[in-house]
Symmetry: C2
């Protein structure tokens, strides 16, 4: 295959064949195609986009560039969800054990937080001892025993995606819908699922700012999933205010414990039920019952133990990770909360140290924001709109102006 | 400078500053910016183009990435021309000595042929002994003595251009007007000229297929030249049929000898006079007189001797390089030549071995096409439309169908 011609073909707006895409990805993975050709191709894709067929072929090629999970014959259905990421999105921590109560298998490969988006692995690692690096054999055994694992992506899964993503990150080619879809879907489909639900977010704290863009992304991802034989559905969910009332790793785990014990913020509980209903065969009522009756909580505790975590720490996680400074942001007037901007709150939480500005940054499990009032709630004068958990006075001072800007009372 | 942001800026259609472009080029030259970032940037330039200011800054940065020729104080004006290249374009071989008759200096750095476009250096090297690699000191001495040199580009001139061109060649980013202009003009302006004339060709055998595209390219190049303090003018010239009657290295040198001795095909003589007039202060009549009275010829002979060439070979160059097979293409009917397609004739000459399909290919000085009838000329039945000079029967057979297609009699 003559790579410059292939780049020119995409550059000039023509469709690449399945064979061409497969060669491109496998030769890039093996190192035969140099990065300077791949980055020029990615920029051409940024400008020209990809047809649905091209996107599917790219997803498939990326999935096949690494190991795809294998299961014993006649094992239960494998199900999972993927979210495009938002501020305070801790859904996976509850949804994974909830779905596993069903008898279904939830073989979840999760990611780490970057920018506004928190990462499931980071949150789980705030639980002392929790181990996200299980080998294949151990992960499968755990699945057979308790029906769920949550692990990190290993080098041998979606090898091309890892290589291509690092390259895109430094060549201005991240925001290409086709490349985003192929990256997300190849990683999810490497889990070898039967059913998948996608949570595509839109709004200030989401990657997609408008519902229209989110719809288009959801449609493309869903069609790629289906064309690869996975029963795929999706939800569009708003991300203008944070999900739930907490942002930050230990703070979010504490909120999950609340939900798994039958409580928690209604918006979060509703989204979890909505997603569970889409991907599970169990009726919504029963799913909600499992949050109430302690069965999801028990499953979560088994998950924590199975992955070397100290489950006795769960109910005191915010004592274990306690920020030295906790300060409230009081309401300047009585009234109804009109705005609680997800993007600004997300940015503040990254500045506090709860998230990463760039890959490899260290996470501070204790810091973040809790007690966040929801849009539509009434507040009195001087009532706390939220609580800031900061490591230093300096970091507190740096985020207070942002948080003031984030909230509005009408 | 954060390179990904700079790539994104261009990707999103914003103008890069002079400082940004300068850093980009100097850090690319030094190896600090990896090729995968530069190729993504070049692809973004392909799609977004460049403003006149950006193009000028890029040209300047590329020129300054290497050595710029230096001359003693109060030396004569330095003048040269550049052609965008065409089939049978041997103008430089005549124009350089002609302009040097004036007392002006012609410090010509030439290129090699690639694709349809022949190269001045290749043609000169068909003269036994001709040396295109003069060091700086010797080149300047020659300029002081006879007012002209024709040499190849050295590694230390426009270093960035060489590096960027090799990268563009394999990443689908050659056909970007801004990058083309910067590449051409940086190399020409490294000659440190006072005056420059550009011969921008359009038509089947040219890089620009339409006059409109050629006009735009000419305008951009002219404005870049002027903005960098060089008196720059241009000509648009058609390239639908070959220039003159010969295509091929020794065959073209023989045609130049004819012109320098006062003869030669009128179209070629006219173009040489047109270009000379634009860049010289000598009146057209006197310039043409110098072709007639032997002074341009004498200057050419001195040039050949000065660069170790055997000038006694000039008048028997096609005897020295004689192809084993010479075959005419007879006219199928009497009439007027309506078409003599430059692109097809150029392609045939490359196939014969007179040009390169890719950089580094070996050139066969003897082969090519001569005696080409010009559009508008009358031919009798069976009169030769052209003569093919081939190394083997096989190569003759491969080009005859192309040459038949190239010509049309009406």
């Amino acid at each position: 295959m003559h790579i410059p011609s292939l780049i020119e073909k995409k550059r000039d707006g023509h469709e690449l064949s399945s064979d061409e895409i497969e060669s491109l990805i496998s030769d890039f993975t093996s190192g035969e195609i140099p990065e300077y050709q791949m980055s020029a191709w990615a920029m051409a894709v940024f400008f020209r986009g990809m047809t649905p067929a091209e996107t599917q072929h790219l997803t498939e090629a990326m999935m096949n560039s690494g190991r795809v999970l294998k299961y014993p014959k006649n094992s239960p259905p494998k199900i999972d969800k993927h979210s495009t990421g938002g501020v305070g999105d801790k859904v996976s921590l509850v949804l994974a054990p909830l779905l596993a109560c069903d008898g279904a298998w939830v073989p979840r490969i999760s990611g780490r937080g970057l920018g506004l988006t928190g990462g499931t692995l980071d949150k789980l690692e705030s639980i002392p001892g929790f181990n996200v690096n299980l080998d294949d054999k151990r992960a499968l055994k755990q699945l057979e025993r308790i029906g769920v694992f949550v692990i990190g992506q290993t080098e041998d899964i979606c090898t091309a995606d890892k290589k291509l993503y690092s390259l895109r990150d430094v060549t201005g080619t991240v925001p290409s819908q086709a490349l985003i879809v192929a990256s997300i879907m190849s990683r999810k489909l490497a889990e070898n699922l039967d059913r998948l639900v996608l949570d595509v977010k839109f709004g200030s704290g989401a990657f997609m700012k408008t519902k229209k863009d989110a719809e288009q992304l959801a449609a493309t991802m869903t069609s790629v999933g289906k064309s690869m034989g996975v029963k795929t559905s999706h939800l569009l969910s708003p991300m203008d205010e944070p999900l739930g009332r907490a942002v930050g790793n230990a703070l979010e785990v504490a909120e999950c414990v609340e939900i798994l014990q039958g409580g928690g913020p209604p918006d979060l509980v509703k989204l979890i039920a909505d997603l569970a209903e889409k991907v599970s065969t169990t009726p919504r009522k029963e799913l909600k019952q499992r949050l109430k009756d302690g069965s999801a909580w028990k499953k979560f505790v088994s998950l924590v133990y199975a992955q070397d975590g100290d489950a006795t720490a769960l109910e005191k996680i915010t004592d274990l990770h306690r920020a030295p400074i906790v300060k409230s942001l009081p309401a300047k007037s009585a009234g109804v909360v009109k705005k609680m901007d997800a993007e600004l709150i997300g940015r503040a939480s990254v500045l506090l140290g709860a998230g990463r500005q760039k890959t490899g940054d260290q996470i501070d499990f204790a810091v973040g924001i809790s007690g966040i009032k929801k849009i539509g709630e009434h507040v009195d004068l001087d009532e706390p709109l939220l609580l800031v958990h900061a490591r230093t006075q300096q970091s507190l001072d740096s985020v207070l102006p942002i948080l003031k800007k984030a909230s509005e009372i009408g």
